[in-house]
């Protein structure tokens, strides 16, 4: 039986560990926290999972919270602006595209703690330990394969940044999120749940994400601010109450339409807020330990996108699915560095679209993109196609990035007789 060591108990590490376990591999998983510590710890992410990623979880029977988590049926876009002659900030763009299949967001504290316990109950070995390079150096050649899925932890620096694929040398957003109960339904569409991105040009974005946490249905209020701008006001380790108050003040100022339904919210728990910032990076997929043994990077450890396009958890789930297939197809052949590079390349073939899409969202939106977002208000097929691009960002290549293609697509959509191909 092949022995595999996985470091990191997040979406990529645990999904891969459980997948391999189900196929009879002998998997050891190292996590720096126990399930109870994860469950009672700070929120980690916003983790909107779209259909393709959810299908990977369903395929492994890991969709434990599906019946309880809100069904996100649409993806909404609003854009803040001013209208000549009228006071205040308004919605100059506001629509919701239909997702072909619903999305969901399950608090990773629940999900990772539950998956870790499941892995353990099924006979997997979990070693609770903050892994250092010296641990790996000793252990690596005693396993057939070592996968590092330790997200943004210090082990990520085993993997050299790939400058050709990493355009940024500094954080592009400051991040501040809060899980709340009591957010009112959107008055425009109380009958369905939507995840919504509110663009505030030159300032940042507010994502509002229906989610499921330990205390039930919740919503995540997630500000993504340009560094140095008016949203860059969240201090580290801030009092959670102050964090929420600040979140709401900013909503009142920049997205008053969202603030209107947020006046009665309260934090889901004492650990429901998170702030920070990081530099997006794509790294070399193979790290080499001091002893010379190669290790394979997975998920955020090697492809770290800003969360502005909600691709992180999706990309990690796709990574775990690709790696699982590649490992099982490998049979008894060695997991050498060449195989590792080829395996990463299989994932990157899709992941590069998520990175490209995320990086477009990070920059100032090109004029034609703003035109498309504006046109989608009256053209449901355009809105729908945009929404489904979050599930499959490769589709944006087909119509969205190139101004001429986008213009052509929108023009065709305007013709009443033409339906979306």
């Amino acid at each position: 039986m092949r022995r595999i060591l996985i470091v990191g108990a997040g979406q990529a590490g645990l999904q891969l560990a459980l997948g391999l376990q189900g196929r009879g591999y002998d998997v050891t998983l190292m996590s720096h926290r126990s399930p109870d510590e994860i469950r009672s710890g700070r929120v980690m992410s916003t983790q909107v999972m779209f259909h393709t990623a959810l299908q990977h979880e369903r395929g492994l029977g890991l969709h434990f919270w599906e019946d309880r988590a809100p069904r996100i049926e649409r993806l909404g876009v609003s854009m803040a602006g001013t209208v000549a002659g009228r006071p205040g900030v308004r919605r100059v763009v506001d629509w919701a595209g239909r997702l072909d299949r619903c999305a969901q967001s399950v608090d990773q504290r629940l999900k990772m703690a539950g998956w870790l316990e499941t892995f353990s109950e099924r006979g997997g070995r979990v070693v609770v330990h903050g892994v250092a390079v010296s641990d790996l150096d000793f252990l690596a050649h005693r396993y057939d394969l070592v996968v590092i899925a330790a997200g943004k932890g210090e082990l990520a620096s085993l993997f050299a940044r790939d400058p050709a694929r990493s355009p940024y040398t500094a954080p592009q957003r400051c991040l501040a999120l809060a899980y709340v109960h009591g957010l009112g339904p959107r008055p425009e569409h109380p009958e369905y749940d939507a995840v919504r991105c509110n663009f505030v040009p030159g300032v940042g974005e507010l994502w509002v994400i229906p989610a499921f946490t330990a205390s039930g249905r919740a919503d995540i209020l997630f500000w993504e601010g340009l560094p140095g701008g008016p949203l860059d006001v969240f201090r580290r380790a801030e009092d959670p109450g102050e964090h929420l108050a600040r979140t709401l003040e900013l909503m009142e100022r920049f997205t008053p339409w969202e603030y209107g339904r947020a006046t009665a919210v309260e934090l889901t728990d004492a650990q429901a807020t998170l702030t920070g910032r990081y530099t997006p990076a794509v790294r070399e997929p193979v790290g080499v330990l001091p002893s010379g043994v190669p290790v394979l990077g997975a998920g955020d450890a090697v492809v770290l996108n800003d969360p502005v396009a909600a691709q992180g958890a999706n990309s990690a789930a796709k990574c775990a699915a690709v790696y699982l297939a590649a490992i099982t197809e490998r049979g008894d052949a060695p997991f050498d560095a060449a195989w590792m590079r080829a395996t990463f390349a299989r994932w990157w073939a899709g992941a590069r679209h998520a990175t490209k899409w995320t990086n477009l969202m990070l920059g100032p939106l090109p004029v034609h993109v703003r035109d498309v977002l504006g046109a989608a208000a009256g053209l449901q097929p355009v809105a729908d196609r945009f929404a489904n691009g979050f599930d499959d960002p490769a589709d944006f290549d087909e119509w969205f990035y190139d101004a001429a293609k986008a213009g052509h697509y929108v023009a065709r959509a305007r013709r009443p007789s033409t339906t979306r191909s």
């Binding site: 250092a132 390079v133 150096d137 932890g153 210090e154 620096s157 085993l158 990081y278």
Partner: protein, 211 residues
């Protein structure tokens, strides 16, 4: 490494009184708990531990990548080489069936992953401070404040340096009123014991009683 060749029967550790009775009875283990001693480089953690330990302090080392600025769930990881982190610890047999460990841990924020490991189940932490380098203890204070672990501040007074009153240090560190601050000498066993007692007292204050 030649593990098989080491003298593993008695173990190479130096116990001032030879093996304790509990060490040789494998049918049961004593109750065990620990206290974390955190502070900057050269602040006297190992001296502190050595002053009360019944064994010559032992050391475990970890090689880690050189992730300069700290890492939490949302922070960046720069690319650099590796560095070795040492953790020194000692042991006190308080009763025949009660053992206390003291773990000294480096104070830099980037060793957070070792702190998580150490504070799991700990009574609390002594943050050891050198008044000449106050800022070295800031990350440790931030960590213990946000983690809810009982902690106290112990100023290790070095001979020939200015002696500050605890209240001055409290103010300089913006410590909440309820966090004990004391001035001690890590070389002197009695002041180290007093420091530990102060921490245990603090832990008792914030540990709920039996219902």
């Amino acid at each position: 490494m030649d593990y098989a060749g080491s003298d593993t029967t008695t173990g190479p550790e130096a116990d001032h009184q030879g093996p304790r009775s509990w060490q040789t009875d494998r049918s049961r283990a004593p109750a065990v708990t620990k206290i974390v001693i955190a502070g900057g480089f050269g602040v006297g953690k190992t001296t502190f531990v050595g002053s009360v330990s019944e064994i010559t302090p032992l050391r475990t080392e970890a090689v880690m990548t050189e992730a300069g600025e700290a890492v939490d769930d949302f922070e960046a990881v720069p690319d650099k080489d590796t560095t070795t982190v040492a953790m020194d610890f000692g042991r006190i047999t308080l009763e025949s069936d009660l053992v206390l460990y003291l773990f000294g841990t480096p104070g830099q924020k980037r060793f957070w992953f070792m702190w998580d490991d150490l504070v799991r189940g700990a009574i609390g932490a002594v943050v050891l401070v050198d008044t000449r380098r106050l800022e070295d203890c800031f990350p440790a204070l931030d960590y213990f404040e946000s983690g809810g672990l009982p902690y106290i501040v112990a100023v290790n007074h070095f001979e020939g340096t200015a002696r500050y009153e605890p209240e001055v240090v409290r103010e300089a560190l913006s410590l909440p009123a309820q966090v004990p601050v004391l001035v001690m000498d890590a070389r002197k066993r009695i002041t180290v014991v007093d420091t530990l007692l102060t921490l245990v007292g603090r832990a008792l204050e914030i540990t709920p009683g039996r219902l």
